[in-house]
Symmetry: C2
Subunit: 88 residues, 2 copies
Amino acid sequence: MAKVNIYVTPKKGILDPQGKAVESALHSLGYKNVENVKIGKFIELEVTGHGTSTSSVESSRVESQIKEMSKKLLTNPIIEDFTFEVVE
Amino acid sequence: MAKVNIYVTPKKGILDPQGKAVESALHSLGYKNVENVKIGKFIELEVTGHGTSTSSVESSRVESQIKEMSKKLLTNPIIEDFTFEVVE
């Protein structure tokens, strides 16, 4: 079993209205020294059945599955970037 | 200036309907080996005006500001946990 963390962020140059809204809200609360707020998604999941993550063949299978799932469902590749790490 | 990443996750034991929905969607797409999907938020922001992050006094000020902002606005402490790291 592999535990995977996936970080999804708005692409550079793409408008991030949620980030802008949070930034103004922070300014209204008095935190005027906060800039460039960007809000993305943090996805944790477990992948089983690829054997132990110590084997490099198995871990590359996990990685290619994660990339495939991210492109197909977890992110919108037109407006979002993603990175991931296998944590366990 | 300090760059900060904040990771917001649903608390253990709290229902995560978004995670459940994504998990079933992944299963329908054929990824039956995926379990325990949890969806949270990934917030990137920059904090200025606390001096360089090399000074430990300044970096502890950044940290306490981040904790305060997270509790007040960025997370719902009743149903969400958060962790953060100062990345630069």
